[in-house]
Structures are given as C-alpha cells and as structure tokens.
C-alpha cells in the first residue's frame, strides 16, 4: 500500500506538533528564567543602594520573586515524552527556587508567616520531587523557628529524618547532604531555648539516628560523612570510648578508599580531642589540637581545635595558657560567628579570674558590638551587672543594668526577629525586676507575650509578671498573665497549678 501525500502531510504535522510541544515547554522554562532573573536583578539593584532596604522594600522585592509562580501553571512535570518531563522538572525547580528566594526575603522582612505559606505551597506542588519537598521542609523549619514555634520546628525536623534518607555526594564532589546536619540543628534549637537537657536528648537521638543509618551498607563517602557527624556528636557528649570506636572505623574506611583521604584532617582533629578528653593530663591532647590548627589553619575545624585546646587548658587550671588560646581564636578567626564570640566571652571570664576586671569588662562590652547575633552578646551586658553585684558594688551594678537594658533595646531594634530577641526581651525583664522598676517589668512581660507567645522564656516571664502584678495590687492583670500562660502552654506540667492560682485571683 503506497502512502499518499495526505498521509505524509499528516506525519509531518504530527512531528511538528510533537516538536512544538517540547518547544512550548522550553519557552515556558525560558519565561520562568526571565522572570526570576528580573527579580534577582531588582534585588541586586536595591542591595547596591546605600541604605539597607526596609521591610516594605523587602516585601516589594519578594513580590517580584513571587511573580515567577504566575508565569507557569502546575502541574509542571507533564507531557508524554521523557524530554518533556525533564524540561518540566527544570521548570518546577526554577519556580521552587524563586519561591525560596521570596520566602527568604519575607523572613528578612520579619514575616515568617509568609515564608511558612510559601513552604506549604512548595509542599503542595512538589510533584514527587524530593529536592523541592526537602527545600519546603527546610524553609518551614526556618519560618517556624522565627515564629517562636520551636517545638513544631523540631517535630518537622524529626519528620525530615524519617522522610529523606541521606544521599551520597555527586561523583567528584564531597558535598554533604544537609539532612545529616539536622540532628545537630535540633540540639542547637534546644540550646537556643535554654534547654540544655533537651539539647542532650536531641544529641542522643541524633547519635541513634546516625547509628541506624550505619546499620545498612552505604556509599563509602556517605558512610564516612555519617561517621564523621557521629564522631562530632559523641565528642560533644564526652563519649570518648564510642568516639574512638568510630574514629577507628573511619580510619579503616579512609585507608580502603583513597578518594576519602580529604577526611584525614578531621580524623586528626578527632584523635587529638579524644586524647585531650581521656588523658589525665590534657597537655599532649591540647598540643595535638594546637598542632592541628597550625597545620590546617584554613580547615573549618581549626578554630574549634584552638577553642577546645583553650577549654581543656582552662579545666586543667592553666589559666594564662588558656587565655592566650582564647585570644588566638578571636585574633585568627574573627569571622567565625559561632566560635569567636564564645572565645571572647570565656576570655573575659578568665580575665576577671586572673584579676584584670577592667579588661574583662571592656571585653564583655565589646561583645554586642562585634557579634550582635550571638548568645554571648546577649549574656555579656547582664554578666557585667552580675559581676558587679558579686563584687559588692551595687551602684555600679545598677548602672550596668540600665546600660544592659539600653543595649538589649538596641539589639532588638536592629534585628527584632532574631533567635536571640526573646532572650534579650527576657533579660530586659530581669533587669527591670532587679532594679525594682515594676511598671517597666510588666511592660517587658507584655512585649514578650506579644512578640514571642510560645517561647519558653515567655512562660517564665508570664509567671514572674503574675507575681509582680499581684504584689502591686493588679489582680486582674495577674490573672490575665496566668490566662495567657494557660493558652500558650496548655500542656505545661504547671498548667493545673496555674489554673488554680488564676481562679484564686479572680475570686
């Protein structure tokens, strides 16, 4: 049977239609890229201006990124051919990337609620793409943390550990899967809440999770990364014997797999820290830590090695040596926002212990200026006042408390949504209570309840506020604080007792 011209035309039309389908998808991808680029450019231009963009400007920029969603309509991964679906996946990831950017700006503008909405949208439109689903979860964790919903953030992270098995790094790369950092992040959240026991619990859970991962055969690089995380957690928990066991396993793994040789420095650090932890005299271990920092000054663990050496020396009462190491951490790694403030704080404490209070005071005063987004910066102003009290200089302590309130107010104004803002607000309350400024103390309680309703410090503040209000003959206000406590913390073990007190106040 011969094919007539009609059939050939039909075949050509079908080919064209098939090609056009792919072209249409690629054109769509191009439009998404164009819109995302325009948003990126708009942001770059705003950032280049002299003044920092305020929240209104940030939300306008966010709207630019949010426009990307409107350029393409879901479902993104569609079409019959593999190429169609592959381009669709590109489109999905581009839209997700833009949505993440918009959420980032919302968070920067102090609107984590918008970021949380973005995360929900991403989860609803992930279309089975694990990368997008993970991004959505990480975004939700950040937004929840900013909203003070720390427990929900932790629960979300716990869910992520079960949902997303860690992936080995792509060929030729040693990039670690972010999911492996989640257990330590959970401990960090607990620590930010001032819940050390909770942090320890999360580390225990983290170690169990990592051990669980090791119960199955893994890609050597991934196994090394898991073991390396486990060693860090075990060292943090002071479990030297278990850490040694993991270091030995890691040693064997590195010996059997030459591409893992880049983990050698980390092994060296772990061995040095274990030595310092286990030896009666930590001299040799601290020397090994110092040698590590000298040999690999640019390694991410170099600053930690020096700080660890200083802490071991301090524990061994070798205070001048410890002080020198703390100063070295600050001098050599001023950009390490995690460890440099800790080193500076401990430096101040040692300066005071070695009799140099003036220097200690000026070191503490420098902390909120140098590292305003650190726990140490939050502790420093209050610590100055406490040290004055401890030295019996009450007048100076009162002046220091007044100054601390001013510093905290300034820190909150600069970054009202940081993880440390609730701590600053709580410290303002403590300062007013110490100064006997009851009205200001109650105003601080109101501020905490308004800004950080579910934060553990708010629970404490509401109970303090109720006491102060009652003592100042404001029974209704006291009852109101207790009512807020019951609303914000219904599962608290103190709930029954608080309800009783509230009822008593209202009678």
């Amino acid at each position: 049977m011969s094919a007539g011209p009609g059939r050939w035309l039909l075949l050509a039309a079908a080919c064209l239609a098939a090609g056009c389908g792919l072209a249409e998808r690629k054109a769509e991808r191009y439009r998404v890229e164009q819109t995302a680029y325009a948003a990126h450019k708009a942001e770059r231009e705003v950032r280049l201006m002299r003044t920092r963009p305020d929240s209104t400007a940030l939300l306008k920029l966010r709207a630019e990124y949010a426009r990307v969603r409107a350029v393409s309509t879901p479902p993104y991964i569609r079409g019959a051919s593999v190429r169609d679906r592959s381009v669709g996946r590109d489109v999905l990831r581009l839209v997700a990337g833009a949505e993440l950017q918009s959420a980032r700006l919302a968070i920067e503008a102090g609107r984590p609620d918008i970021a949380l909405e973005s995360s929900r949208w991403l989860a609803d439109h992930a279309e089975g793409d694990t990368l997008v689903a993970r991004q959505s979860d990480f975004l939700a964790v950040g937004a929840l943390r900013m909203m003070g919903r720390q427990n929900e953030a932790i629960e979300r992270m716990r869910g992520m550990l079960t949902r997303y098995p860690p992936n080995p790094p792509p060929a030729g790369s040693s990039e670690e899967d972010a999911i492996l950092t989640v257990p330590e992040m959970m401990a960090g959240v607990r620590r930010d809440q001032g819940d050390e026991a909770g942090a320890k619990r999360e580390l225990d859970n983290g170690a169990a999770y990592l051990r669980g991962l090791l119960s199955e055969p893994r890609d050597p690089m991934l196994e090394a990364q898991i073991r390396s995380r486990l060693v860090r957690i075990l060292l943090e928990q002071n479990q030297a014997a278990a850490a040694i066991e993991q270091v030995s396993a890691l040693d064997r793994l590195v010996a059997a797999n030459p591409p893992l040789r880049e983990l050698q420095p980390e092994l060296e650090y772990s061995r040095a820290k274990i030595r310092a932890m286990t030896d009666h005299d930590p001299g040799e271990g601290t020397a090994m830590l110092e040698q590590f920092a000298a040999r690999y000054p640019k390694h991410p663990l170099a600053s930690r090695a020096l700080l660890d050496a200083a802490v071991f020396l301090e524990d061994a009462k070798r205070l001048p040596d410890a002080l020198a190491r703390y100063r070295e951490v600050v001098a050599r790694y001023p950009g390490d926002e995690e460890l440099a403030p800790i080193a500076l704080f401990r430096e101040a404490m040692l300066e005071e212990r070695t009799g140099d209070w003036d220097r200690a005071k000026s070191t503490l005063e420098s902390l909120p200026v140098k590292y305003p987004r650190s726990q140490a910066a939050v502790e420093a102003p209050f610590t100055i006042a406490m040290r004055y009290y401890a030295r019996g200089d009450k007048d100076a302590a009162k002046v220091a408390l007044g100054r601390a309130v001013a510093i905290y107010t300034d820190m909150i104004a600069k970054d009202s949504t940081s993880a440390y803002a609730p701590v600053c607000r709580y410290n303002i309350l403590r300062a007013h209570l110490s100064l006997g400024e009851w009205d200001k103390a109650l105003a601080a309680v109101d501020e905490l309840a308004l800004r950080n309703p579910r934060h553990p410090f708010t629970a404490q503040a509401l109970l303090e506020g109720a006491k102060v209000a009652n003592a100042n003959h404001q029974r209704d206000r006291a009852a109101g604080y207790l009512q807020q406590y019951l609303e914000f913390f219904p599962d608290s073990p103190l709930a029954a007792q608080v309800r009783q007190q509230k009822n008593a106040l209202l009678q």
Binding site: G19, C20, A23, E24, K26, A27, R29, Y30, R31, E33, Q34, Y37
Partner: protein, 282 residues
C-alpha cells in the same frame, strides 16, 4: 600602488554615492532573513521563537544556551553562524544577482536583461566553492588563534580587557584579509563565458593584484560592523551580567545591518574596479 589606491577609492565612493535599492534588494533578502531570526531569537519565550531560533541554537550548541540570560551570550554566535550559512547558500545566488544589477548600467552590452538567469546559474557553483574555501580558511584561522599556545602568547603581552580586544581585533583583521582574496570571485563569475575554474582562478588573481587597496576598503567599510562585533566579543559577558541581556540583541541587530550594507558596498566597489580595469585593458 598609489594609482590603484586612488582607483579603488573612486570605485568605493561611486558605490556609496550611487546606491540604489534595486541593486541592494538581493542583499536585503538575506538581511530580512537574519533580522527575522534575530526577532525570533529575541522572543525565545514564545513557542514560535523557541521552535525556530531555539531549534537552530540547539542544533549548534545543544540545550545549554537555551536559558535566560545565557542565551544572549550565545546570540552573536548564532547570528554569525546564520549569516555564514545564508551567505554561503542564498548568497551563491543572490550575490551574483546583485553584482549583475550593479554592472548592468555600467556595461549594458555585457549584462543584458535576458541573460540574467543564465548568468546567475553560471555563477552559482564558483561562488559557492569560493565561499566554502573562504569560510574554511576563516574558521581554520579562528581555530588557530584560539589555541591555548597562540592566545596565551598574545595575552602575555596584553592582559585582561586589552588582551581580549587584541585577540578579537586580530581575528577580525586576518578574517577580512582572507575574505579580500575571495571578493572578486562573484564579480568574475558573472562575466560572460566564465567557467567555474577560471572564475575562481581569475577572481583570486584579481584580488592578489589589487589586494592592498581592496583590503583597505574592506576594513574601512566594515569598521562600524567590526566595532560592534568587537564590543560584543569583548564586553558581551559584562553587558549580559551587569547591564541588560537584551542590549546584546540590539547590538547584534545594528551589527547585522552595518555588516550587510558594508558587504554590499564592498562587492559594488570591487565590481566597479574590476569592470574599469577590464575596460582599461581592452
């Protein structure tokens, strides 16, 4: 030499002064095709743009340049490739046609109206072969120039922006020199009774006899297009990344128009020079 330069200058000035759209029309067709591709390329976000300019881009370099704003980094390459193909294929017909239209008012007896079709057919093969050889030589030269040893040596004398400018300028100047050798091939190919072999041979001979004055005219008339190409080659990344990617499209458009007019005037000047020399010899 001075006399040859004066003659070529006069031919170039006459070509510029006696512009007629009828003569330029064959080039205008090529220009229209290039501008159409450029227009489609500037609209890659539409299905039509992606199915045409996008398809061509994919044939040349795969999927990688089909992203915004990277596509604009590739756009000059796309257009110069399209330009080369158009000149090679459509140009084999349209350039002889334009030259016949230029020469008819000068020498009506040699270029009668009724012979136009036959004369174009006679010229197609030598013009195509000449263009192919010319293209191969220019591509070969660009390949040599961009070898690490050659480019590295140049960049040891001129670093950074200056180095890029020197490499680009050298690439263009030598490219124009190669092209100068083939400028007379279509002019000779449309002459009465020329076989393909003799058209190419005589064309090359005429070019080597008049090389320097013709080269000066080629470079002189191509300056606006060359300047635009230099900007695109040296500052392309900067324009895409820091200013606005679409600027590349506008500059490419200006380049295409300048380049087309320059090519037309160069052929017109070469045709006039050749015809004058033939008349003088007779």
């Amino acid at each position: 030499m001075a006399r040859e330069i004066r003659t070529m200058r006069a031919a170039a000035l006459e070509a510029l002064g006696s512009f007629r759209f009828y003569e330029f029309a064959p080039f205008a067709w090529i220009l229209a095709a290039e501008l159409l591709v450029l227009g489609l390329a500037m609209n890659l976000g539409t299905t039509a743009g992606m199915a045409t300019a996008g398809w061509l881009t994919e044939r040349l370099a795969g999927d990688r340049p089909l992203h915004y704003p990277d596509f604009y980094r590739f756009l000059p390459n796309l257009i110069t490739n399209i330009e080369a193909i158009l000149f090679l294929v459509a140009g084999s017909v349209l350039i002889p046609l334009a030259i016949i239209r230029i020469l008819r008012p000068i020498d009506p007896a040699s270029f009668p109206e009724r012979d136009t079709g036959a004369r174009v057919r006679q010229a197609v093969l030598p013009v195509l072969i000449g263009a192919l050889i010319c293209l191969a030589l220019i591509v070969g030269w660009q390949w040599v120039l961009h070898q690490r040893a050659v480019e590295g040596t140049i960049r040891t004398f001129a670093r950074g922006f200056a180095g890029s400018a020197v490499v680009a300028a050298l690439g263009m100047l030598v490219g124009y020199a190669v092209w100068t050798f083939f400028v007379f091939v279509p002019v000779v190919a449309v002459q009465p009774g020329r076989s393909p072999g003799s058209a190419i041979g005589s064309g090359l001979r005429a070019a080597s006899q008049n090389f320097f004055p013709v080269y000066l005219v080629v470079v002189g008339l191509s300056l606006p297009a060359a300047a635009m190409l230099l900007v695109l080659q040296v500052m392309g990344n900067f324009l895409v990344g820091q200013i606005r990617p679409e600027i590349i499209g506008v500059l490419v458009g200006i380049y295409v128009v300048c380049s087309m007019f320059a090519t037309f005037f160069i052929y017109a000047a070469a045709a006039r020079l050749y015809q004058a020399q033939q008349a003088e010899a007779a």
